[in-house]
Amino acid sequence: MSKLVPVPSKSMIPERDLGKIPVLETRHLGIEFGGLTAVSEFDMTIGRTEIAGLIGPNGAGKTTVFNLITKVYQPTHGTTLLNGIDTYAMNTMQVNRAGIARTFQNIRLFQKMSVEDNVKVGLHNQTPYTMAEGVLRMPRYWSKERQAHERAMELLSLFHMEDMADVPAGSLPYGAQRRLEIVRALATNPSLLLLDEPAAGMNPSETAELMENIRHIRDTFQIAIMLIEHDMSLVMGICEGILVLNHGKIIAKGTPQQIQNDPVVIEAYLGKKKEG
């Protein structure tokens, strides 16, 4: 696949490969809780193999956007197109099967299960066999289980976690838990990966490593990645397009350079300059 140069655009996050159907497109996406508008008029597109960043002050509605895209919340306004297909009638499970995988801000691993089993749960829909085949240990059980084991180990090797395969996920160190969540999400074979604060709680060297990993994942799996992150070195370092959210509204879109110099963004983060 040829690498394409980011193209600036008024209404879109700059994309690496325009011309194809974007992997994700949201239209007027919004949600109200009671009378409170948490997110409104959220419009964006993400290209096939783009790394996009979603930033904003605390409480801006970033995680809510992820929850809307993955249907943890049903949007009250607008809709999301995934690979050109409307996800309006889908639930969380169907959205995942259609190609969106995510991680969570507050880690949600299957704590009591082993690291390998966590990944195998992610591979659930890739290794189909029926309950009867599993209970009676029929040939398809053995072949699919072997496939699942090999694939799980391959995915764990992305983060050099193969030797932790038998450890219960809940007893992993914090950083490893975050990495395992990414592996589990990748196991579902997504076309778009949503990362909710992947670098939270990591030290600078771990963050730098994570940056490399995210890039590596994009290049090897050829998928789009969208991430929420407060660590600006990470966001500015790897994102090709950035979207700034404040009070549930998009206040800026653009390349890292444009965002860094945008007065609106600076105001949202640092407050207004005193007049005079």
Binding site: T70, V72, N91, T92, M93, N96, R97, A101, R102, F104, R108, L109, F110, Q111, K112, M113, D117, K120, V121, G122, H124, N125, T127, P128, Y129, M131, G134, V135, L136, R137, Y141, K144, E145, A148, R184, A185, A187, T188
Partner: protein
């Protein structure tokens, strides 16, 4: 290399192979003992109920330990299995003379009917999030008990007769009454035996252990650990919840058929709320999700009241104290320390694993 093999063996014994070995060893020992007249008649009479309760405990562990949902009416599925099983076995008594085949059919029919009721209870409830299953199964247990209490079933040359008023209104010419309202099933010919019970336990173990170690079992455990995360990786939450719950109900139904066929009469009152709680106690005591623990707890707590018969008046008191002590031992920090201390003493006594233990720093 030798040590490596030994550790592998220990690992295998701690896993599923050990559970099968435990059950098979217990069966062989008990068979030898009863052949040599070494067990009392009261214990011998308990062998089939023990098998039935072991199956009940394993199957409830699938709901409570693996799926993570509380069920307070597991005995009602046993009840459904028991009475449909009895009706099947008795109505087939003219057609199929072999008792073993009839028992097998009774268990299969009992399992199927219990599974059907599992679906009826599960479909509406398991779509919800929260402890609704506990409440609904509690009510379901009472409903089933009351329905069977006013149900009259008889068989004659014309086939099965059903009534909800009394035995006379069955309108039979001759024939036998199988289910006689509050008196329960009467005149059952005893088909169950220890070997049948043992085989059911093995089948139940194969089903549950293989289920847990398959794709479906992982999905169920994922739902237990985190529903939102399970959904986010594309798992059909309702489907897998239902799968585990119905499997659990079906096994309870088979256990019910086995249990009922061990007596000449059995009434619905036998499968009341207390029985459900008793089975839940087996599961909690044996450890949630711990299949081997369930087996040991079910067997031990079924035998214990029999062994305590000589204390007569203090029987239930001693039973309660034993329960409390075991719970404390298993779940408190002090209990854990005592366990470790006992473990160390035990290992020192045999001197085998003492070195490995100190190396691990436990």
């Amino acid at each position: 290399m030798k040590k490596f093999n030994k550790q592998n063996l220990i690992k295998a014994l701690k896993g599923n192979a050990g559970t099968y070995l435990l059950v098979i060893a217990a069966y062989i020992i008990l068979q030898l003992m009863s052949a040599g007249d070494m067990i009392s008649s009261s214990l011998e009479g308990q062998l089939v109920p023990i098998c039935a309760y072991v199956v009940m405990a394993i199957s409830l562990n699938l709901t409570v330990g693996v799926l993570g949902e509380l069920s307070l009416g597991h005995a009602s599925f046993m009840s459904v299995g028991a009475f449909t099983g009895v009706i099947t076995a008795m109505s087939l008594s003219g057609v199929i003379p072999m008792g073993g085949v009839r028992l097998l059919l009774a268990m299969i029919v009992g399992a199927i009917f219990a599974a059907i009721f599992g679906v009826i209870v599960g479909v509406p409830v398991l779509r919800l999030r929260g402890d609704y299953l506990a409440i609904v199964t509690l009510a379901f247990g009472e409903i089933i008990k009351n329905i069977i209490n006013c149900l009259y079933v008889g068989i004659d040359a014309n086939g099965l007769h059903l009534s909800v008023t009394d035995a006379e209104s069955l309108n039979m010419d001759g024939g036998t009454v199988i289910l006689n309202g509050p008196m329960g099933a009467v005149g059952i010919n005893k088909l169950s035996g220890f070997t049948a019970g043992f085989l059911l336990v093995i089948v139940c173990l194969v089903v549950v252990l293989n289920f847990v170690n398959s794709r479906s079992g992982r999905a169920v455990m994922a739902i237990r650990d985190n529903v939102i995360a399970a959904e986010s990786v594309g798992i059909n939450v309702t489907r897998y919840r239902l799968m585990a719950f119905v499997t659990s109900a079906a096994l309870a139904g088979a256990a019910g058929a086995l249990y009922a066929m061990n007596y000449s009469t059995v009434s619905a009152a036998k499968f009341n709320f207390n029985t459900s709680i008793l089975v839940l106690v087996f599961v909690v005591l044996g450890g949630l999700g711990n299949i081997r623990g369930s087996i040991i707890a079910a067997a031990a707590l079924t035998i214990l009241p029999e062994l305590l018969r000589e204390f007569s008046d203090y029987r239930m008191l001693v039973y309660a104290i034993v329960l409390i002590v075991v719970m404390l031992m298993a779940n408190s920090a002090g209990g854990k320390r005592i366990q470790l201390w006992l473990g160390d003493k035990f290992r020192a006594l045999f001197g085998k694993f003492a070195k490995r233990n100190t190396a691990k720093g436990e």
